[in-house]
């Protein structure tokens, strides 16, 4: 059974320059005990998607649409019953009040969900930990709140967690402040905090970007062993294809707020479909590669999410772009039961149909 299922998630931010479409209708799901990697460049919407999932969007961000099912339960925010005409004033007021109530209920539900059932690790361990609180306080906070542990129990649990994540002399660390610890240790403490309440889902947003490779290896090992034991599902957000190759069961590639390709790790690496995935794989150098091969970078730069045109967002950088790519957005095409991608290359028949309809002068949606 799927632990998490997200359908048609759309997120936009209001800014002074206009509306930024950060996430544009993504679908994905996570199985129990599975590690899903979400790969994308900065600004591709991978972090925003996860933040809105957890209900942690900034004030100017809005989850415009989307159904989120977590562990069989619908946790999508209540949608606003917008501007229905023909209703009496009384009905409209009642509707608005009901909406407010629904939102409050949803907010309360998310508060109990975060930390207990779904936990999140962020990129920068220094900004995540509170600099003026001792490690012990921060470690026991979630346990006391969610698990209703006594002080004693919470302290003991925290100690054993610190030992599990490989921190020496945990009693002493509990009394220390975050600044007294190295980056790797801080990040390990964050992993310990995230896993302290035994969540079903762990979202790791670039957990190792701030760390060195040897420390990164330690931490990835830690996340893998600790989640495998408890069959915790992990969503791993990263831009490092090396990490997803080592860690993940399935991969979703994001570009300009869309999941352009999705598949099992081997499918993505050995049989990539979308030209962007192919380009990404061509752009990385490999320590294991003995021959000096020329890199094949993707020309151009990622699009501006303020001014997106109607077509495929990757079309301006795509070597295989066709006319249709510039004006129509491709729908996902399945290749296998696990792999699918959004590219007109793979749905020629649909493309032809659109062209024919256009020629006949039908309106196209």
């Amino acid at each position: 059974m799927k632990l998490l299922e997200v359908r048609h998630m759309t997120v936009a931010f209001k800014t002074q320059q206009g509306v930024v479409q950060a996430v544009r209708g993504i679908d994905f799901s996570v199985e129990r005990g599975e590690i899903l990697g979400i790969v994308g460049e900065s600004g591709s919407g991978k972090s925003v998607a996860m933040l809105s999932l957890m209900g942690l969007l900034a004030d100017n961000g809005r989850l415009l649409s989307g159904e989120i099912a977590f562990d069989g339960e619908d946790i999508s925010p209540p949608s606003r019953v917008g501007g229905q005409t023909g209703l009496s004033l009384r009905a409209r007021v009642c509707g608005a009040l009901a909406h407010r109530r629904a939102r409050r209920v949803h907010r309360e539900r998310m508060r109990t969900l975060r930390g207990r059932e779904a936990a999140m690790i962020f990129q920068d361990p220094m900004t995540y930990l509170n600099p003026v609180l001792r490690i012990g306080t921060q470690m026991t906070e979630g346990l006391r709140l969610h698990k209703k542990c006594s002080r004693r129990e919470a302290y003991e649990t925290a100690l054993s967690l610190l030992r599990q994540v490989g921190i020496t002399s945990p009693e002493q660390r509990m009394r220390q402040y975050p600044f007294e610890l190295s980056g790797g240790m801080r990040q390990r403490i964050i992993v310990a905090i995230a896993l302290s309440c035994g969540p079903k889902l762990l979202i790791a947003d670039e957990p190792t970007t701030a760390l060195d490779v040897t420390v990164q290896a330690q931490l990835l090992d830690l996340i893998r062993t600790m989640t495998r034991e408890s069959r915790t599902s992990v969503v791993m957000i990263t831009h490092d294809l090396g990490i997803v190759a080592t860690m993940c069961d399935r991969i979703a590639i994001m570009y300009a707020g869309e999941i352009v390709e999705e598949g099992r790790t081997d499918e993505i690496f050995y049989a990539p479909m979308h030209p962007y995935t192919v380009g990404l794989l061509g752009s990385i150098a490999n320590t294991e590669r003995s021959v000096r091969q020329a890199l094949a970078p993707i020309p151009g730069t990622p699009p501006d999410l303020l001014h997106l045109t109607g077509g495929c967002a990757f079309a301006p950088r795509c070597a295989e772009a066709m006319n249709i790519c510039l004006s129509y957005r491709p729908e996902p095409t399945d290749r296998s039961r696990t792999q699918r991608c959004r590219c007109w290359k793979y749905c020629k028949s649909a493309a032809q149909e659109i062209i024919i309809r256009q020629q006949k002068g039908f309106s196209t949606s």
Binding site: Q218, A245, M247, F269, I284, N286, P297
Partner: protein, 349 residues
Amino acid sequence: MAAPILEVAHLCKYFDAGRAVSGETKKLKAVEDVSFAISPGETMGLVGESGCGKSTLGRTIVRIHDPTAGRILYKGEDITRRKNKHLLPVRRSMQMIFQDPYASLDPRCTVGDILAEPMAIHRLYTKRERASRVQALLETVGLKPDHIRRYPHEFSGGQRQRISIARTLALDPEFIVCDEPISALDVSIQAQIINLLERIQDERGLSYLFIAHDLGMVRHISHKIGVMYLGHMMEYGQTADVYDNPYHPYTKALLSAVPVPDPKTARAKQRIVLKGEVFTPIDPPACCLFANRCPHVMARCRRTEPPVCHVAGRRVACHLYTPDFLALRRNGENPIFTDPPDWRADIPV
């Protein structure tokens, strides 16, 4: 092989790190006894974890920092103690690309001003020549001629890095220190910049000192590689040799820790996971600085600093490769350079 364009011998750079309770000044040893040479047209990669002193080394070579000890020879001339005025001609042919393209370009200058400034400082060319050279530079790095009147904030990270590359090329340098030129950029843009750097090198016969922590990119671009750890050069040799058969235990651990972007190799890969925390570079102990994390640590590693050993055309700072230790291993059953079950086992110290 031609005479090296840059030679660095026993270079040290210490910073003051406040006073200890005893009243002695504490020293942060950022670079300690580092030696290497770069030939014309060659790229030397410098890798290591953050805080290992690789950027300080690069900055000391271009004399942003004054070296504490050691010598820097540029084209055979000793520039270690040169004062600013006499450094100017050296700086003309020795340039640097910085890591953060958002911080290294003056936000109040147009691209044209940024690219012309080096020529103005060195009083080269007439105004008209400068203008045409700026155009040529923009073309070289793949920017459009009308970008000349724009300001840095109008560009993306990759384009800004192109501008700073163009700026370093303004004076036709022969040697460029690239201090993590790609780490602030997106993956698809990184490859563009690397290809650009390689193309410029092929066209102009430049030498690079390429500082990075992306080991894949360093393998791709460099001919020689130096691996640094807490200010020391742990291993130094030809890139292919070091990557295919690392000698130093730290290099082994470092290379094994790199996530390989290939699922099958990644699954098969044996990874050495290091334990322990990195020593502080402030007044470090006089022993092997990797001793507390090394899987092959011996008693002598904790007692004395390892000498720099010359093994098969490579330099390794490790007790496992000292002549007497190699002789011991040769006499025993252990074949050299392959891992015996436990190196600590039967070696008398």
